[in-house]
């Protein structure tokens, strides 16, 4: 059975610079500026109230902040798409740290008051699928629901896995997203963890992926197409940066899209200020795309690295394929580059070797 085509019909984003759907993203990309607090080596925290009104009052009272973030972005994507969960909706969510903040609060309860200090309400949040579970409840997604855990590339990995589910006919439509909040303990230990000059952020982003036929049946606007997706592991030690430059993920994603390296008009990479990892990714991209490689953008300097950013970059690549505009990766961050309106490559490479490539085209 031939794989089905996979299109994007909804975008939902909540971060320090963008709260909204594909139109809000387009407005941001057309005049890019850093979210508040973004600087090398800094953590850009999402302002309180950034997603007020996007979650039900009851959810806002009882759910953790990171669960609310996830629900807010997912609902925005569903609203734009108009997809009907009752017709079969899956959910794939990527995250690096999950709800680690709740885990600390839960543990602190015990450390301060013993067994009497343990909160049965908090315990489910210590399991990393809590955001997917609450988002599935809020959106009515009742088919497969996966939480994928990976450093750096969790968001784009979620989109790649979700696209595979639609292409294989596992589900008619999928919410594919990424979500992250920065836990205070992690933030405190960042320098020791070796994040260096990396720019970290918070936020969530979701896409609705489905087949063109499913979208056409309700007259949904197609915002872009995921025409190839692949993920692999490059050899390295845990948390390490490797030396292998040959990317089978990029090769496989281009192959699935029926494209050659020279067909790629622009690249959205995962560079975020981690010098060793950024250099490795640059070598991998150069090896895959050749000496005439297209320009590479990274939005991490504007929005901070977080799992939602990987998803946002897929939506951004669809915007670039439509508009022929690419936010420049170098300083000043607000510059736009004109690129051929051709399919783009979204690429992510993590310490530890997790490696994702997606080819994104205009509809």
């Amino acid at each position: 059975m031939a794989a089905a085509r996979v299109v994007i019909t909804g975008v939902g984003i909540v971060n320090g610079a963008v709260v909204g759907d594909s139109a809000a993203l387009g407005a941001f990309l057309a005049a890019p500026r850093p979210a508040p607090g973004m600087a090398p080596g800094a953590v850009g925290r999402l302002a309180a109230g950034a997603f007020a009104g996007l979650v039900d009052a009851q959810d806002a009272r009882r759910l953790s902040r990171v669960c609310q973030l996830s629900i807010a972005a997912a609902k925005l994507a569903m609203r734009e798409s108009g997809v009907d969960a009752a017709r079969g909706l899956g959910l794939v969510l990527g995250t690096e740290f999950g709800d680690l903040s709740s885990t600390h609060v839960f543990a602190d309860g015990f450390l301060e008051r013993g067994a009497a200090g343990l909160s049965p309400l908090l315990f489910p949040n210590t399991v990393m699928n809590t955001m997917a579970a609450t988002t599935a409840i809020a959106t009515g997604a009742r088919e497969l629901a996966l939480t994928l855990n990976a450093p750096t590339v969790a968001g784009e990995l979620a989109v790649a896995r979700a696209a595979a589910a639609v292409a294989a006919g596992e589900v008619p439509a999928v919410l594919a997203g990424g979500v992250e909040e920065i836990d205070p303990v992690v933030e405190r230990e960042l320098p020791a963890l070796g994040f260096g000059r990396e720019t970290l952020g918070e936020g969530a982003a979701f896409l609705v992926l489905e087949t063109p036929a499913s979208a056409a049946a309700r007259g949904a606007t197609i915002l872009g197409e995921v025409s190839g997706a692949s993920w692999r592991a490059l050899p390295t030690r845990p948390w390490g940066v490797g030396r292998q430059r040959v990317s089978r993920a990029i090769e496989a994603a281009l192959g699935a899209a029926g494209l050659e390296a020279g067909d790629v008009g622009a690249v959205y990479g995962s560079a975020s200020g981690d010098r060793a990892r950024d250099t490795w990714e640059a070598h991998v991209l150069a090896s895959a795309l050749g000496p005439d490689a297209p320009p590479v953008a990274s939005l991490a300097r504007l929005l901070g690295r977080h799992a939602g950013l990987g998803v946002l970059r897929v939506a951004a690549a669809a915007w670039t394929a439509r508009s022929g505009l690419l936010p420049a990766a170098d300083e000043p961050a607000t510059r736009l580059t004109r690129v051929p309106a051709r399919p783009g490559l979204v690429h992510g490479l993590a310490r530890g070797g997790a490696h994702v490539a997606l080819v994104v085209s205009a509809a």
Binding site: M1, A3, L91, G98, T103, H104, F106, A107, D108, F110, A115, L118, S119, P120, F123, P124, T126, V127, M128, N129, T130, A132, A133, A136, I137, T139, A141, R142, E143, L144, A145, L146, T147, L148, N149, A150, P151, L157, R161, A164, A168, E170, V185, E189, A192, L193, G194, S230, W231, R232, A233, L234, P235, P238, W239, G240, R248, G352, G353, A354
Partner: protein, 391 residues
């Protein structure tokens, strides 16, 4: 559609290291739930669990969970006779929940007492994906790799995910399974929810009082059937189908009618082209909590009809091994098919009259089985069913 077969098995369980020890315990109905030693249990209602009795070797810098996983994957790869060259294109899917939490807790507890410790190893290994990174590096697995967290169904979801990669033609071979070590957070959490039985759990018993915790690792090697045949691999069983659904109902409680569970079972049967009447054995999720067992029995009855199949719970012998449960129970199901023996439900003295199945109380049952399912359900209503046929 490509057929998927199981060619390698590996386990680290409360019965010890290795599949042989695992099956010996299961086939004799031994309960390995004992007082816990790896964590402090003072002041808690339940102080028992299924603990792996021997710590696998390897670097002491690795977490306990990583060492359990490495032992199980090493055994599975050897069992499948999968060489170094094959591994370069082999996928790895790991189901995980706790990651290196046990070691991170030690650091965090010490810090709370004002003692300085090294945060870096603790925080780098705490994420569930740390296992996949360790396994990938240790065994040079270079295919697609991802880590799934679906709470207590994580191990089974990992097996289903690997099967999907093979069915889609992305890879010919995959290593998949789940791992978890007992952690304080998890033990305290289930205690706080009052879900732990102070005595070894009694799934499907009228007087059941909750679950018992456990730990372990279970991994399988899955292969495209054609490729397995070409290289002369021994086939343990065929993974004929799987189904994954979500309740979208409640974060901890299952949907009371078992609709999501039943949909997962039906999806597995549909993918395997198998009628419900062909299934002879269900390795149940069977936690021992009053609510879960009741809802699972209801869902089984909706799909298979009352009394139509044998049902048993592996958790009655090794406890609930969290992310490892789904894959260890898949291995138990495969071994049951291979040996023609249904492992019993240990500690089952008074069958619950609301559970309309023969739950194989205490004593294993010798009977030829050609087709069986393994159910796994997790917090958040994450349901998965794996359908196996005898190899």
């Amino acid at each position: 559609m490509k057929r998927v077969v199981v060619t390698g098995l590996g386990a680290a369980t409360p019965f010890g290291l290795g599949v042989k020890a695992y099956w010996s315990g299961l086939a004799n109905g031994v309960c390995a739930i004992r007082p816990l030693t790896v964590i402090e249990t003072d002041t808690f209602r339940s102080r028992i669990g299924g603990e792996v009795p021997e710590t696998p070797g390897g670097s002491s810098r690795r977490t306990r969970a990583d060492r359990l996983a490495i032992a199980a994957v090493d055994e599975a790869l050897s069992d499948a006779a999968l060489g170094t060259r094959d591994r370069a294109d082999t996928a790895l899917v790991v189901g995980a929940v706790g990651g290196g939490m046990l070691e991170a807790e030690s650091w965090y507890w010490a810090a709370a007492r004002g003692q300085r410790g090294r945060a870096v190893p603790a925080l780098r290994s705490v994420l569930p994906c740390a296992h996949a990174e360790a396994l990938s590096a240790r065994f040079r697995l270079g295919g697609p790799r991802h880590s799934v967290v679906t709470a207590c169904s994580s191990g089974a979801v990992a097996v289903a995910e690997a099967a999907s990669l093979i069915r889609a033609g992305v890879v010919d071979t995959a290593v998949a399974g789940g791992v978890d070590a007992i952690t304080r957070i998890c033990f305290m959490g289930f205690n706080a929810l009052k879900l732990l039985d102070p005595t070894p759990c009694r799934p499907f018993d009228r007087n059941r009082r909750g679950m018992s915790m456990g730990e372990g690792a279970g991994f399988v090697v899955l292969e495209d059937a054609t490729r397995a045949r070409e290289r002369g691999a021994r086939v343990h069983a065929e993974l004929a189908g799987h189904g994954m659904t979500t309740d979208a109902y409640h974060v901890t409680a299952p949907e009371p009618e078992g609709d999501g569970m039943a949909r997962a079972m039906r999806a597995a049967l549909a993918q395997g082209g198998t009628p419900a009447s062909a299934v002879q054995y269900a390795n149940a999720h069977g936690t021992g909590t009053p609510q879960n067992d009741r809802v699972e029995a209801r869902a089984l009855a909706r799909v298979f009809g009352e009394g139509a199949l044998l049902v048993s719970s592996t958790k009655s012998m090794i406890g609930h091994t969290m992310a490892a449960a789904g894959s260890l129970e898949a291995i138990a199901t495969i071994l049951a098919l291979g040996h023609g023996v249904v492992p019993p439900t240990a500690n089952l003295d008074t069958p619950d009259p609301d559970v309309a199945f023969d739950c194989v109380a205490r004593v294993p049952r010798e009977t030829p089985i050609d087709c069986a399912i393994s159910n796994s359900f997790g917090f958040g209503g994450q349901n998965v069913t794996l359908l196996f046929r005898r190899g």
